[in-house]
Symmetry: C2
Subunit: 241 residues, 2 copies
Amino acid sequence: MAEITSYKYRVEPQDVDFTLRASVSSVINYMLNVAGVDAHNKGFGVEVLQGQSFTWVLSRLAVDIECQPSQYDEVAIDTWVNEFNRLSSTRNFRLVRSGDVIAKGVSQWCMLNMETRQAVDMSLLKDVYCRAMVDEPSPIAAPERLRNVEVAQSVERRVVYSDIDFNRHVNTLRYIDMIFNNIPLDVIEHNNGLRIDLNFLAEARYGETLTVGFSSEESCYMFEISSDAGKTLCRAKVVFR
Amino acid sequence: MAEITSYKYRVEPQDVDFTLRASVSSVINYMLNVAGVDAHNKGFGVEVLQGQSFTWVLSRLAVDIECQPSQYDEVAIDTWVNEFNRLSSTRNFRLVRSGDVIAKGVSQWCMLNMETRQAVDMSLLKDVYCRAMVDEPSPIAAPERLRNVEVAQSVERRVVYSDIDFNRHVNTLRYIDMIFNNIPLDVIEHNNGLRIDLNFLAEARYGETLTVGFSSEESCYMFEISSDAGKTLCRAKVVFR
């Protein structure tokens, strides 16, 4: 068994939106960075897996934000893994500012064989993983499994250089941008907190044209991002309070 | 007279492109962040000017990159102001990694009255500015004044939430992204250094549709970004070595 680990960040100018608060994609960026660094520190980072052509893939994520931190705020991200089975591992997050928890997250990861593109049985990491497990429940309900979205509106969006990561796939954070770019500005400006659930189903490549489809009902916004070939890549649900 | 000031950064995962090196927009981001922090520390930051409804506006920028730093590299940005007249102030940058200067920049700023949208005579900052001046030449030639571009190709691009800053204008870094998103991936991947010159002429607002026009000749790429109304917002020239 292990303890919750904590990493410090400062909200930099490039992290904030027009309200001078960290955007949701920046809050998620802090969490995903910490996931990478903490996995590395505990001995199961991507660089260890790459030796076997394996990699981590984020399959689902839920983040509940009470309050977005402001530019130059100092924050800490607590993280811990508390569940692990053959096909999925659960990593949790708390974003803390001046002693208050202002955002919480739960992420589910699977391991992929990069050559066969098949899921890998994670039992092989059992020993190293068991030592990293923390006896602390997830801070919010697990990410929802999202169903087909009845698309009311859609916009097209080409995958460009600034979207892609090392594998030339669209970076997770760009999906978050695509989502919030289709929510009215005044909803983003005047929110009293929100919860976002994300399901990642497939990867988009450089040069593809994505369709961002969405619909809304009161304060709930549903998204489905799909590729040229009509393959669903990502679904999301954002509920504002 | 003052001394060159130095600020430390670490190249974070969100700063790198698919080559795992800091993108040009990230290198420029470090420089612009440092410009903001250094102006603040020397007593002429935006928060001082805002009391008089004035603000800093970046009018031209030239950056020469020998080598883009890699993910997790520790770098220092040196900065100093070495010229100042009624209408323009020149701030310089050096990006240093392990003692080597790997990028250099020169930026020209003017002061704007936010109410009248007119340039402000900077003589009023003379005393505080003179104390901040450093007797060190600019590390590269001043930014070029760029002429009309003969546009060979163009793409349209709506201004969205993730593009805008506090003033609801397109963030400078998004123009850099629009530029590099229209340069072939293999040119970006295999470059042996580059110089970019930028002229900022007007501001784009949320909801406008921008046209990114460009043309290229050998290793030189020219860009002109304009708004709905055909107003030129930004011109750029990128020369790869």
